[in-house]
């Protein structure tokens, strides 16, 4: 427990944490500002997507905000997981803990558990910022915010959050495992991003295989609309969201087993 609490205390003030969730929330704000600022063109322009104002129109805005957070958050989570795991090797802090007699696997798993908590708080923070900004934007744009208290939308939010959190945590676990195998922060981040986009492009050619890959499964687990994979995949909706969620959990646990197993056996040099 003290390892987990310590890991949380280390993550909270970290620049990577502040940057990741600050960026996510900041981009939501920017998008809402852009929507409000260009609402005249959006409403009146021929051929413009008519649903852009949905970003600031409740109760639909809830889904839009979540969709954005979980979509971009997938990429951010890979990078975040890789940054945290890789820095333990790059800075040598794992070495110091091991030299004190700490269990390597316990240390790595406690670190990841803390990442999971930080991700939950970060998603929630970004969502709250998104809702507040959307409400302000709607008010400025003269759109009613009466839907903000829509009961059905509010009741569905916890499940959406939970699914989204599991999916995002899975992508973070992929980054975490990759950086652990690479024993490097930069290599972990680079390979994590490459996997993220590589899987997307592979989906164009090998849809039957790629639908079982982590980022596509993450997309499927949250209903397929969040865009964990940045380009639409020809894999399409091929499984129920519950099956996808189970497979996401398998990837999550598998990544952690790989990271812990490798950490346990690795020769720590340098």
């Amino acid at each position: 427990m003290r390892l987990f609490v310590s890991a949380l205390r280390k993550l909270a003030p970290r620049m990577a944490t502040l940057l990741t969730f600050g960026l996510l929330a900041g981009m939501l704000v920017l998008i809402d500002v852009a929507v409000v600022a260009t609402r005249g063109a959006v409403e009146g322009g021929p051929g413009r997507p008519g649903n852009v104002l949905a970003l600031i129109t409740f109760p639909g805005a809830y889904d839009q905000i979540l969709s954005f957070i979980l979509g971009l958050g997938g990429l951010f989570a890979v990078i975040y997981g890789a940054a945290i795991a890789g820095s333990e090797w790059t800075w040598g802090t794992l070495k110091t803990a091991v030299a004190r007699g700490e269990s390597r696997s316990r240390y790595l798993l406690a670190t990841f558990a803390a990442i999971g908590v930080v991700l939950a708080v970060g998603i929630l923070f970004a969502a709250v910022v998104g809702v507040i900004t959307a409400a302000i934007g709607a008010t400025v744009a003269g759109i009613s915010i009466s839907g903000i208290g829509d009961r059905a939308a509010l009741e569905a939010l916890p499940e959406h959050f939970l699914r989204g959190w599991v999916a995002i945590t899975e992508t973070a676990a992929i980054g975490f495992a990759v950086a652990t195998l690479a024993r490097s922060q930069l290599a972990g981040i680079g390979v994590g991003i490459a996997l993220y986009f590589g899987e997307t492009f592979a989906g164009l050619f090998l849809p039957d295989v790629v639908k079982y890959m982590p980022f596509h499964l993450a997309t499927a687990a949250v209903g397929g609309s969040t865009g964990f994979a940045p380009v639409p995949s020809s894999a399409g909706p091929v499984m129920s969201i519950d099956t996808a969620l189970v497979l996401v959990a398998v990837w999550l646990l598998g990544s952690l087993v790989v990271a812990a197993g490798f950490g346990e056996r690795a020769e720590i040099t340098g």
Binding site: S6, K10, P13, T93, V98, A99, R100, G101
Partner: protein, 333 residues
């Protein structure tokens, strides 16, 4: 058979990195309650040994005993009684010194409340404890690293180059701290390149070369038995002088220096320096330099010369040439 008087022992320790043999049957015996100086040129296997002793890597063969008990892959709890600083100190740069020690205390052996402040006091960082480590100098990071090693009040302290980056006052302070720890029964195992520092600090010395122990013993015994007279002649006369000087002692105790052309080391007690001079003069060879002493550096160079590499300006990897050489005829206390 475990010797209970030893705080640390290795028996036939072997380790290879691919085809390169890093440890080749290393046998170390570190008595409890002493400062043990662990010396060797670069690539001799010091850091590999440190890594094995702290469980960072695992030996291919041989055995390690820590504090009177076997230490294997499954015995990580044995390290709860060990404090270590391996290679460079490692910290989270964005956390303060105190927060880093708190994070460290969360791993391994439980740390008593208040110990972090005690340690910060010991290493002289109390005033800077709240500054981020990224703003620390190299010496301050080194002190914090030593503080981290002291966190669990260990019975055995393993320190890799503890004086690295410290200013003279810091070196003296660390030396006194380590001496104090030994005086209260702790065992301090120090790997260092600063031979003069080790000579002042260590009770027992182990010298390794090419992954093997080449000499081990108390500092006093080694220096008494390993007196060296160094003589400088014209490079063209080295062969003749070496043959001549072999009459004073065994031929294998007369060693022309490969790194300092013209210098010859003769392993005899310093009170026979005049004999060296006379013998050479009788052969028509006149020394242009002569020095003698019981010097750890001389001993180190003699024992490890085959494994050290020179460079054109006469310095060589592995040893700080400015540190530790005694003036000719200086007697060590």
């Amino acid at each position: 058979m475990i010797d209970p008087t030893l705080a640390l022992a290795t028996r036939g320790l072997r380790k290879s990195y691919g085809s390169r043999l890093a440890l080749d049957g290393l046998d170390l015996s570190v008595p409890a309650g002493v400062v043990y100086g662990f010396l060797g040129p670069n690539g001799a296997g010091k850091t590999t040994t440190m890594r094995v002793l702290t469980g960072l890597i695992h030996a291919d063969g041989g055995a390690v005993e820590l504090l009177g008990r076997p230490f294997t892959r499954r015995d990580r709890h044995r390290l709860f009684d060990v404090g270590a600083l391996v290679e460079s100190p490692a910290f989270y740069p964005y956390l303060s010194g105190r927060e880093n020690l708190r994070a460290l205390a969360a791993s391994g052996a439980p740390t008593p409340a208040g110990r972090i402040d005690e340690v910060l006091e010991i290493v002289g960082l109390r005033d800077r404890a709240t500054d981020p480590v990224s703003r620390y100098s190299l010496g301050m990071k080194q002190r914090l690293g030593i503080g981290g090693a002291l966190l669990n009040d260990p019975a055995l302290l393993l320190l890799d180059e503890p004086s690295n980056g410290l200013d003279p006052a810091g070196i003296v302070a660390i030396r006194e701290t380590l001496r104090h720890l030994a005086s209260i029964g702790k065992t301090v195992f120090v790997s260092s390149h600063l031979l003069a520092e080790v000579q002042q600090m260590a009770d027992v010395v182990g010298i390794i070369a090419s992954g093997r122990l080449v000499r081990e013993g108390s500092m006093q015994d080694l220096l008494v038995s390993e007196g060296v007279v160094r003589v400088r002649v014209e490079p063209a006369e080295v062969a003749t002088a070496t043959a001549r000087l072999a009459r004073l002692t065994a031929p294998d105790r007369v060693t022309p220096s490969r790194m300092e052309p013209g210098w010859i080391s003769v392993q005899i007690t310093p009170d026979r320096t005049s004999e060296v001079n006379r013998l050479l003069a009788e052969a028509g060879i006149f020394a242009s330099g002569l020095s003698s002493g019981n010097d750890l550096e001389e001993l180190f160079l003699t024992l490890t010369e085959d494994t050290t590499s020179g460079d054109p300006d006469g310095t060589f990897a592995g040893i700080d040439p400015s540190a530790g050489r005694l003036a000719p005829n200086e007697v060590l206390s």
